[in-house]
């Protein structure tokens, strides 16, 4: 890394000894970024924004929360009623979790469509899937903390997933609980881990960004950057674009926080936990519903758990399932159709996860689960062998500048965002 010559003498003095300013200049300012990124490329920085929001509000909530079965529910109610602006901070944290998942899900589907998981970005993708797993664990433990009915029974059902492991399952569950049921030891350890996990996520996010900056962003065309003519510096072009995206995101987020703060939650969680009474209809938070539908679709305990975790595991090996050399779905006519089918399938699974496990819903869950795995394990490997892809453009700059081979300074004025 080359050190910069900063004008400010203090900055120069520090940078000579500790090159943080050079580092930031290199990675956030001059960092060459493909010039054709569309708005779907905003979701990465939005996920970062969501993470920071969650950490800040979370630390504040921890100052007022009591991780004890006798006080947890009431301490949350106290935050909502008595603590100055406590309602605001909790509603931001509560809805922030949902919005974090919305952003990350879009981010993932962006990667799926444009083949961002393909060489040389396999590890970048795998780190991303790891972040998703950590987020799920964090969200699950956070949901337990208010100690409402859904908290308690969600914790019971999810920890019991581990009892499906042959031989050692029961011991693992008792170990997770620190007792013979979800109780005070469970609550206090979940609080400790819920506080820790975001920092683990932050560490993996840093690795994710290091891996990203190794080869730079993928782009809607899915072709490699050939040189300077294909890129623009990150600042001010993408900093301002990301900032604009952040404003749009925050507008939507704020509307949820202020006008529909409980829309994505479940009313039963405002009933204090009761270990002797399971609510008639327990559902996880909406972002777990597709996985929950897969769990319930399999009429066998261990099988259900394996398929549910398998739904994530298959994402880890995705770079080796889809062998097509063409990254972007734009140039893959058949893949494109299957992509939208997969998206529809995931939405269907999410809807089914919220329905009772009976009748037609069970049948549909099984079909949708089968399709999910069929897509990854059969469709993608076969497509990479048989699909006839469309011709790729010569380079990003020729495509952006209207496809003319003689794209010069004059046609540069026609440059438009490629969305």
């Amino acid at each position: 890394m080359q050190t910069q010559n900063f004008k400010n003498p203090v900055v120069r003095w520090i940078d000579h000894r500790l090159p943080v300013f050079s580092f930031m200049h290199h990675e956030l300012h001059e960092y060459p970024t493909p010039k054709n990124l569309n708005y779907l490329w905003n979701l990465g920085s939005l996920a970062g924004l969501a993470l920071v929001t969650m950490i800040v509000t979370g630390i504040i909530l921890a100052m007022h929360y009591t991780p004890h079965v006798d006080h947890a529910f009431e301490s949350v109610e106290r935050i909502m009623r008595d603590v100055n602006h406590g309602w605001l901070i909790r509603y931001i944290h509560m809805n922030g979790a949902s919005f974090f998942f919305i952003v990350v899900f879009i981010h993932i589907f962006r990667g799926l469509y444009y083949g961002s998981y393909k060489a040389p970005r396999e590890l970048l993708w795998i780190l991303g899937v790891l972040i998703l797993l950590l987020m799920m664990a964090t969200a699950f433990m956070g949901y337990v903390l208010p100690w409402g009915q859904m908290s308690f029974w969600g914790a019971t059902v999810i920890t019991n997933l581990f009892s499906a492991i042959p031989f050692v399952g029961e011991s693992i569950v008792v170990w997770l609980w620190g007792g013979f049921s979800v109780d005070n030891p469970t609550l206090s350890r979940f609080f400790a881990l819920h506080y820790l996990m975001p920092f683990v996520i932050t560490a993996v996010v840093i690795l994710h960004i290091i891996a990203l900056h190794r080869f730079g962003s993928n782009n809607p065309l899915g072709i490699d950057v050939n040189g300077k003519q294909d890129t623009i510096p990150f600042h001010p072009y993408y900093t301002s674009k990301d900032l604009f995206g952040a404003v749009v995101f925050l507008t939507i987020f704020a509307s949820a926080v202020f006008f529909y703060p409980n829309f994505l939650g479940h009313p039963d969680n405002y009933i204090p936990a009761n270990p002797l009474q399971t609510p008639a209809h327990i559902v996880p938070e909406w972002y777990f519903l597709p996985f929950y539908a897969i769990l319930r679709a399999i009429p066998d305990k261990l099988g259900g758990v394996l398929f549910m975790f398998g739904a994530i595991a298959v994402l880890f090996i995705l770079p080796w399932l889809d062998r097509s050399p063409v990254r972007s779905g734009r140039f893959r006519p058949i893949f494109k159709v299957f992509f939208w089918l997969l998206l529809a399938d995931c939405v269907l699974l999410g809807w089914l996860g919220a329905k009772p496990a009976e009748g037609i819903y069970v049948v549909l869950s099984r079909l949708a689960t089968a399709w999910y795995f069929f897509h990854f394990l059969i469709v993608l490997p076969v497509l990479s062998l048989v699909e006839k892809t469309r011709p790729l453009p010569q380079s990003i700059s020729t495509s952006v500048l209207g496809g003319g081979a003689l794209a010069g300074a004059a046609s540069a004025t026609k440059e438009k965002p490629d969305a």
Binding site: W153, V157, S163, F180, S181, R189, T278, I282, K301
Partner: protein, 176 residues
């Protein structure tokens, strides 16, 4: 030190021995850090309760809390006992005779925890859904249990567990 074959062998031994001892040491440090999450002594101490079962009328059921979980105690009717006995054992997912699950046929004591993912099945109170086999029904993922608490239909792998209990007099049982 000279580089003879003998010295190389000695050095390899030292490296392997050091690494092994480091592994043993790491495991010794990790054990208490992991084991602390297991149930603590006070949690284990709360392990038994006594219940007077004389007040449960025929056809009635009560729920008591043992180790933080519900235990179902049902005074079964003659019909319920008959239907529990009138079952082809070979057809069961977790084959067990009714006699193996009770100490007195009229009194069924079982853990009220679905063996699938730990919800509390319905069927204790009058008016609750009892499932296709007139025992219990778990609303979470649709497991049906019969009048002996055996799994008959749905995702649960095993029968509702019978907790360790003993009659300490005709009317009182000790669970745990």
């Amino acid at each position: 030190m000279s580089d003879t074959a003998e010295n190389k062998g000695r050095r390899d031994f030292i490296v392997v021995a050091t690494n092994t001892m480091m592994g043993v040491g790491a495991a010794a440090v990790a054990y208490p850090l992991i084991n602390q999450m297991n149930p603590a002594a006070d949690t284990l101490a709360l392990a038994s309760i006594e219940v007077d079962v004389s007040g449960i009328a025929e056809g009635q059921a009560i729920t008591v809390k043992w180790r933080g979980k519900p235990v179902f105690i049902r005074h079964r009717t003659k019909d319920e006992i008959a239907s529990a006995n009138d079952t082809t054992i070979a057809d069961l997912r977790d084959p067990q005779t009714d006699a193996d699950r009770v100490q007195k046929p009229e009194l069924l004591v079982i853990q009220g925890i679905c063996t699938h993912l730990g919800c509390v099945p319905l069927g204790q109170k009058i008016g609750e859904v009892k499932g296709d086999f007139n025992g219990w029904f778990c609303p979470c993922h649709g497991s049906h249990y019969d009048t002996s608490g055996r799994i008959r239909k749905g995702p649960a792998p095993t029968n509702l567990e019978v907790p360790p209990y003993a009659f300490i007099s005709d009317n009182v049982i000790k669970i745990g």
